[in-house]
Structures are given as structure tokens and as C-alpha cells.
């Protein structure tokens, strides 16, 4: 038992070059998703009309995004 340690060693960080492509492309797509839930067809519109706005209307209000 004496060689068992419960204090973890300092974990090795992931290399930046491995994170970067995921962060750039994944991050961009996910920010676009947040835009569609939080702001599309409010102050700015990618699509015409207000279908998306109306569909996610309650979620937008309850998440605290500005909404009409």
C-alpha cells in the first residue's frame, strides 16, 4: 500500500497545436448556434421573416437574451 498515492501528479496539458483547429472551427460553429437561439431575427436577420424568432421565443426570453 505504501506506493499508492492519492494526490494526483500535475496533469500534462494538451498541446496548443492540437487544440487550435478544434477551437477555431468548433468554436465558430457553436457561436453561430448561440446566435440563432439568442439573436436571429431580433436586431439582425440572416433569414427573412420571424419564424426562428417565434419558435425559440420562450427560450430566448428565459435565457435572458434581449427579445422584442
Amino acid at each position: 500500500m505504501s506506493d499508492m498515492t492519492f494526490a494526483p501528479a500535475r496533469p500534462a496539458p494538451l498541446p496548443l497545436a492540437e487544440i487550435l483547429p478544434w477551437a477555431v472551427f468548433g468554436g465558430l460553429l457553436l457561436l453561430i448556434a448561440i446566435y440563432f437561439v439568442g439573436a436571429e431575427e431580433g436586431a439582425t436577420s440572416v433569414f427573412q421573416g420571424s419564424m426562428i424568432h417565434e419558435f425559440v421565443h420562450d427560450g430566448r426570453h428565459l435565457l435572458g437574451f434581449p427579445c422584442h
Partner: protein
């Protein structure tokens, strides 16, 4: 490894969104309905007081999405989409922070980051520009309100990142207490300056029930709390299994 963490973050985010939906449906939706009832009553009173000059009834706006859909599939889609996106971005931040915040393991890193994110993304922006139910807020100011909200969100996150970097820098030379308290003090001053500098927004109509506003805002905070708790704790558990399944976690055969 980052891709696998991203997948886990988004899956936990979907679960968090579903749980937040259950809470939102039970506690948030009744307040939305009360606010919409007030809105309709207000516009009916306005019409009665000043009928349109040509005697024609004001055309009701066509209902694109029914209230029942908004309160169920619409709300679920919004919260799950937001949860997945936030969970994914969280996992990317985690991928960078892991191993770069002293000796913190995966679960501790995840829990700490989620707590910091809740303060930066939810608490600080909501204190300045709180969530508002329908009937509160004018159509004419939506552009300005949206800009201010996102400016505050970006500044709030930037200030939190600056405080964490400051704590990390001081930690080695001055120790945990001095580093933590110095960074906390710097954070509070920066948050104070940012929230004070941005203009206030108050578009509460006369006669709107304060109880509905309070209950609405508390349920909004509850939704965010569920999202961030599930993401912080759930993702931490999954990430630990992926990153730290070393010999000590396997059953001891010898």
C-alpha cells in the same frame, strides 16, 4: 483528444438542456403566460381608448408559431441548442485550461471553470441587464439593447479571464491566499467599472406585476444554474475518465 472532449462537452450540454427545459417548463412558462396576458390586456385597453381613425379593427398579427409549440418543442429546441453550444465551447476552454491551472485534476478544473463561467456569462450580465418577460422592452430599442447586452457579455468574460490569469501568475510567488484575494479584488473593481460605465436600460411598462418580473428572473437564473451545474460536474466526470484513467483507477489485482 480535443475532439473527444468536444463531443463529451456537447453531449453533457444536451443533457443539461433537457433538464433545464423541465425546470423552465414548470417554473418559467407560467410567468411567460402571465406576461403575455398582461401584454394582450394592455393592447386591448389601448385600442378601446383610441380606436383606429377609419373605424377598422387593428389586424391581429398572424400567429406563426402557436403558444403551445413555443412552450414545448420551441423551448426545448432553444435550451438544448444553447446547452449543446455552451457545453461544446466549455469543453474547448477546458481543453486549454486542463494542466495549466496548477495541479488541479479534470473534475476540479471542470467544476472551477463552470463556476467562473456562471459568474461571467450569467450573473454579472444579468445583474446589469436582467432577463425580461414578454411585454417588457420596446421594439424600437432592440438593436441598442442587443448591442449593449453582447458588449457587456464580452467585457464580463474578458474581465474574468484577466482575473484568472492574474491569480495564476501570482500563485507561484505569493501563495494561494494572496493570489486568490488579489485577483478577486481586481475582478470586483473591473466588474464594477464595466457595469457602471454601461448605460442603464429600463423599459418596464406601468402596472406590470413586480411578482411576475421577480419570478421570471429567478426562474431564468435557475435555468442557467442547472445548465452550468450539469455541465461543470457532468463534463468533469466524463473528462476524468477520458484523461486520467491511470493505474490507480483500475482494480488492484496484485
Amino acid at each position: 483528444m480535443t475532439g473527444s472532449l468536444l463531443l463529451r462537452g456537447m453531449l453533457v450540454g444536451v443533457l443539461a438542456g433537457v433538464l433545464a427545459f423541465l425546470f423552465a417548463y414548470k417554473f418559467g412558462e407560467p410567468q411567460v403566460d402571465l406576461a403575455i396576458a398582461f401584454e394582450e390586456q394592455m393592447s386591448a385597453t389601448e385600442e378601446a381608448a383610441a380606436p383606429p381613425a377609419d373605424g377598422a379593427m387593428v389586424m391581429e398579427e398572424p400567429e406563426l408559431v402557436s403558444r403551445a409549440t413555443q412552450a414545448t418543442t420551441g423551448l426545448l429546441t432553444g435550451l438544448v441548442g444553447y446547452g449543446a453550444a455552451v457545453g461544446g465551447i466549455f469543453s474547448l476552454v477546458f481543453a486549454y485550461a486542463y494542466g495549466r491551472l496548477g495541479a488541479l485534476g479534470a473534475r476540479a478544473t471542470s467544476a472551477l471553470l463552470a463556476a467562473a463561467a456562471f459568474v461571467a456569462v450569467v450573473l454579472v450580465p444579468q445583474i446589469k441587464y436582467p432577463a425580461n418577460p414578454p411585454a417588457v422592452g420596446s421594439d424600437d430599442t432592440i438593436a441598442a439593447r442587443t448591442s449593449l447586452f453582447f458588449i457587456l457579455l464580452v467585457l464580463s468574460i474578458a474581465v474574468m479571464v484577466a482575473a484568472i490569469l492574474l491569480a495564476r501568475r501570482l500563485w507561484a510567488q505569493r501563495g494561494g491566499w494572496t493570489a486568490g484575494l488579489t485577483a478577486l479584488a481586481a475582478y470586483l473593481v473591473m466588474v464594477g467599472i464595466v457595469t457602471f460605465a454601461l448605460p442603464p436600460i429600463n423599459e418596464m411598462p406601468d402596472g406590470f406585476s413586480p411578482e411576475v418580473v421577480w419570478n421570471f428572473r429567478v426562474s431564468s437564473l435557475g435555468i442557467h444554474l442547472i445548465l452550468w451545474m450539469v455541465i461543470g460536474l457532468g463534463f468533469g466526470a466524463l473528462a476524468e475518465r477520458r484523461l486520467e484513467s491511470g493505474p490507480s483507477r483500475r482494480p488492484a489485482y496484485s
